[in-house]
């Protein structure tokens, strides 16, 4: 690959914040909005989350019921495939592990599909959303999640690029096979690990 003539970069490689995956930059306190579809309007009172598919106990919860199950906080970094990262930010919600414990995945379940009220879908191996890796959240930095950032409730899977974190989440379906979602059918990588730069199909 060619060296870009005259380019030294803002920061030397050695000085780069080690929390930034390759090819990412720090957006600081801002939080860009990226969505492919119209921003959803959801009545939080009527919203429900369903876990179905290959589970022994398909379940649905209202927001009130979710909040009654407990509160977990994710504090850490998030990474968008469009090259921004937001460092040391926080989300409040509930670990998906808690909900899966209630829904009881069947042994043959190996993949999940997240689905939004907008019909946005994104796919993941089950192992990427279990063991303290995924949360259903309703607050960002102590404030209710805004509509453009996926409020009232979204999912976050912060160790992967953020298109894997569905806004306006309404359903998590467990499957025994991988089923490409919206961006995965539109040229993006199936898994999306920022540390190995799995951005696009073929990376």
């Amino acid at each position: 690959m060619a060296i870009t003539r005259g380019f030294t970069g803002r920061r030397r490689q050695a000085e780069r914040d080690p929390r930034l995956p390759p090819g990412q930059y720090d957006v600081g306190s801002s939080w860009p909005v990226l969505t492919a579809e119209p921003t959803a309007r959801i009545d939080a009172e009527r919203w429900t989350l369903t876990i179905d598919g290959l589970v022994a106990n398909p379940s649905s919860w209202s927001l009130k019921e979710l909040k009654a199950l407990g509160t977990d906080v994710y504090r850490g970094d998030i990474h968008c495939v469009t090259t921004w990262s937001k460092l040391d930010t926080s989300f409040t919600g509930i670990s998906l592990d808690t909900l899966l414990d209630l829904a009881q995945p069947l042994p043959e379940a190996t993949f999940v599909v997240e689905e939004s009220t907008t019909r946005y879908r994104t796919n993941l191996p089950l192992s990427d959303v279990t063991g303290g890796k995924a949360w259903i959240v309703w607050e960002h930095e102590g404030k209710p999640l805004t509509r453009e950032h996926g409020g009232p409730v979204r999912m976050i899977v912060p160790h992967l690029y953020f298109w894997k974190s569905a806004k306006w989440i309404s359903k998590v379906t467990l499957l025994d096979h991988d089923e490409p979602g919206f961006w995965e059918l539109n040229g993006y990588h199936h898994r999306g690990d920022p540390w190995t730069e799995q951005r696009f199909d073929g990376d």
Binding site: Q13, S30, V33, E37
Partner: protein, 236 residues
């Protein structure tokens, strides 16, 4: 046999053929991309700058050129303190090599065969110009309607081209100017067309709600957003 999407993901060393400045606002790059995968209007490219020590910085830019163009034209908006756009505007000149990959994205992409409504704010106009050039070259300008907005004439990318094509143009901060408001968008909404909305978060949120209020089905609205929440780059 690699698919087009897989070939598009390969990094290539493109040669800079032309560098033009749009005032202080943006730089227009024309690139010769070896073994190029032909894009669809609306798709984007990623540019990557590489320092000698391996440090890289990359950003995405909309393609402005028509698919049939031999070169790939990118509209690089100058972001205040922008690492990539600042370098491109101050240092890059014809003959330089730049790493790029693309075209990327199959969602915000027009097929060129079905009716489309393009609504863009500020630099969000860039992908719509690719649609316009394609519609004209294929002899189907009637398939595409455009409504664009910028602060003033000077802020509007490709103003002459858009004017000549009869695009609806709003100047939100110009004396005697106008805005793309609910009435304007309501008058051009077309449930039979795919609406492509591109601009800042605030601009696209407003345009989406005007389209929805005018009966444009959600499934026919495709959005490309950039910038932070409540950005002030353009305001309809």
């Amino acid at each position: 046999m690699a698919t087009d999407a897989q070939r598009a993901a390969i990094w290539r060393d493109a040669r800079v053929v032309d560098v033009r400045h749009h005032g202080d606002i943006a730089v227009i790059l024309r690139l010769e991309v070896p073994d190029r995968v032909v894009h669809r209007p609306g798709q984007h490219y990623v540019l990557r700058l590489r320092a000698e020590d391996g440090y890289t910085a990359s950003r995405s830019y909309s393609t402005v050129s028509a698919p049939s163009d031999d070169l790939v034209e990118l509209y690089v908006e100058k972001v205040p303190d922008g690492e990539v756009s600042g370098f491109v505007s101050e240092v890059v000149e014809p003959g330089d090599e730049l790493e790029c990959r693309g075209p990327i994205g199959r969602w915000f992409a027009w097929d060129g065969r079905t009716p489309a409504l393009g609504i863009g704010g500020g630099s969000g106009v860039a992908p719509l110009v690719s649609m316009l050039r394609h519609a004209q070259e294929t002899g189907h300008p009637e398939l595409l309607s455009l409504a664009v907005s910028a602060w003033t004439d000077e802020h509007l990318p490709y103003r002459e081209e858009l004017e000549a094509a009869g695009a609806l143009i709003a100047r939100s901060r110009q004396k005697g100017g106008s805005r793309l408001d609910a009435a304007v968008i309501g008058a051009i909404a077309d449930p039979g067309a795919t609406a492509f909305v591109c601009g800042s978060a605030r601009f696209t949120l407003a345009m989406e709600s005007y389209l929805q209020a005018a009966g444009q089905p959600d499934a026919s609205i495709r959005v490309e957003r950039f910038g932070p929440t409540g950005g002030t780059e353009d305001d309809g």
